[in-house]
Subunit: 357 residues, 2 copies
């Protein structure tokens, strides 16, 4: 059986008969309204490198103190992160970036590709350990926060986030806040990191089910960061695709009830998968946001491979996220499919109960 | 009067009353057929990092010996170049890249951002000087060829290109062939660079008037390059926007007569602008492809600034392309606008005839 070494093995698979707890993409349809006014010739012209002005103005209204000029629209949150790290390298050279572990699997390579150095702080029960965080802070110029988190599904405590704001301001450290799951929280309100040194990353992918369109953004009050990002993007990709931006603009006019309705669906799925895994004897953190769980299981790589090849179930190896001995399951699929997936997992783990300890 | 230091100053300007010989984007509409089948939900899912399989298969048919697996669809030719340079840095470290001067203004920064080192060879009358080229070849691992060229409008001689293929094969040097203007040649057939070490860059922007959609690609028989590009792109931007790819796929089915008709329009414009500038006393190379001319003029930065502020005419400073003492004019605009622009330029250069020598 071929060893599966990264999520790339599963991307774009024709999924007949497969139950995929793999990729983190919503299966829900995007709002219909995003298809309005698409045939104007303007859509085929180069646009501003920063992105459509009206889209940026609409976004600025969502963040207190923000202005349209503080935003750059990017090819998804991925490009936003890549550009910010490259900008920091241009401004500060090979500095350290503090990353919480387990982490989103792209974080270490994207940091290293930009010429920066990842430094890790281990989460405790999926949450930031402020003591270790503060200790490591002295060796970095940037911290990367992802709350709600992929892959843990955890949301950081408000006190923790406020303490991080203060610590970073004191030490002159940038905070990159990857908030792509900010609209998917089930337990309580989130707290969005603020401040002159904060660079916020977000996208339309999760909230509006627009993953394939690749429209994301960054915003910061730090003009130097924003300007440097634009200076890089003008050469490396130019404007973000204009048609996707137009759809994103349409999405901004969709009533908030759309998001609320989606959130309820996600919460139902979370309860189904979390409850189902608990019933099967798995040890896992209760997810508070995003759409992932990260249960313990020994021989996780073998599990990934056998579940796929013998049971047609896709799960991701925790090791890809810096969490060996765990697997990541996304619950971005219908409850019926979640149930069927749980049935297959139940069959697979029979006789392997000791792996769950 | 504010000094204008880069093309970014003009991008996205509301152009009422302005005659722009600036940005290199077609004003012609894209083929209507590209709007077919756009509302399928598939368009909102993540796609393969390499890009849509059918689109790559269609592209492979256009290049002898190519296979779908040799292609990566990117956010325009810009991202293709960025990814290839970053891949070369991953594989070979800080190596040299031979760049012909004058060059497309993004070449030096995009090479440096990837951690590589530009090395320059001066063109003679807008064409490669093989003697200097061969001398410089010893200090580089990559050569970057752009024929037809932005900003010179020149097409390299077939013998030159064949000699470059041989030289690079002999010295183990990659050829990156930026062929975004390959369908816009007026004087004779182009010769597309071939070989195991060639990495071809192209896009749908110029041929199909789809600049704003940002769909480009790279292809190479060098599997290591293609795989490394994919390994980077999975983290830095993921799939290229799926809707743009769908439109590109539709564009591939547009009859070749569409391209031929566009080419005739470009040729008419070229003749108008080239002839007009000659009549005004400018010294310039006859453009053979693409849609640019690069006439001589002293005090080029002052000219750019004064033409814009006093006459509402946008031209680019040759200095941005490594050609001080020249200005770049794009003829991607209607002949009536070309005539009006020429009138304004005529007025401006009255009494400055000595600047044209």
């Amino acid at each position: 059986m071929q060893k599966i070494t990264s999520p790339a093995a599963f991307i774009g698979l024709n999924d007949t008969g497969i139950i995929s707890f793999g990729s983190g993409q919503p299966d829900l349809p995007p709002p219909e309204a995003i298809f309005k006014h698409l045939e104007t010739p303007r859509l085929f012209k180069y646009g501003l490198i920063k992105g459509d002005e009206e889209l940026r103005s609409l976004l600025a209204k969502e963040y207190p103190g923000a202005e349209a000029e503080d935003f750059v629209i990017t090819n998804g949150a991925s490009e936003a992160l890549d550009l910010v790290f490259r900008a920091i390298y241009q401004l500060h050279g090979k500095v350290g970036v503090l990353v919480c572990k387990p982490y989103y699997y792209s974080y270490p390579p994207i940091i290293e590709l930009a010429g920066l150095k990842p430094v890790y702080t281990n989460l405790i029960e999926g949450k930031i350990d402020l003591k270790d965080f503060e200790k490591k802070l002295k060796s970095v110029k940037v911290v990367l926060i992802n709350s709600p988190s992929n892959p843990t599904g955890r949301v950081e405590e408000m006190e923790t986030l406020k303490a991080i704001e203060k610590l970073c301001a004191k030490h002159g450290v940038y905070i990159i806040s990857d908030e792509v799951y900010k609209d998917l929280i089930y337990e309580r309100e989130n707290y969005l990191l603020k401040g002159a040194q904060v660079i916020t990353i977000n996208s339309f992918s999760k909230t509006y089910s627009m993953c394939g369109l690749r429209v994301g953004y960054l915003w910061s009050r730090d003009k130097k960061i924003v300007d440097t990002v634009v200076d890089i993007k003008v050469h490396t990709s130019m404007n973000t695709n204009v048609l996707g931006q137009e759809m994103a603009r349409n999405a901004m006019h969709v009533p908030h009830s759309f998001i609320e309705k989606q959130r309820q669906i996600w919460q139902e799925r979370r309860d189904r998968l979390y409850g189902g895994l608990i019933a099967l004897g798995f040890d896992l953190w209760k997810p508070e946001g995003a759409f992932y769980v990260l249960p313990k299981i020994k021989n996780s790589n073998r599990v990934v491979s056998e579940l796929f090849h013998k049971h047609q179930v896709i799960v991701y190896d925790g090791e890809w996220f810096g969490a060996p001995g765990r697997i990541r399951l996304s619950y971005a699929l219908d409850v019926k499919l979640i149930d069927e997936g749980l049935k297959r997992i139940k069959k697979y783990i029979q006789g392997k109960e000791s792996w769950l300890k």
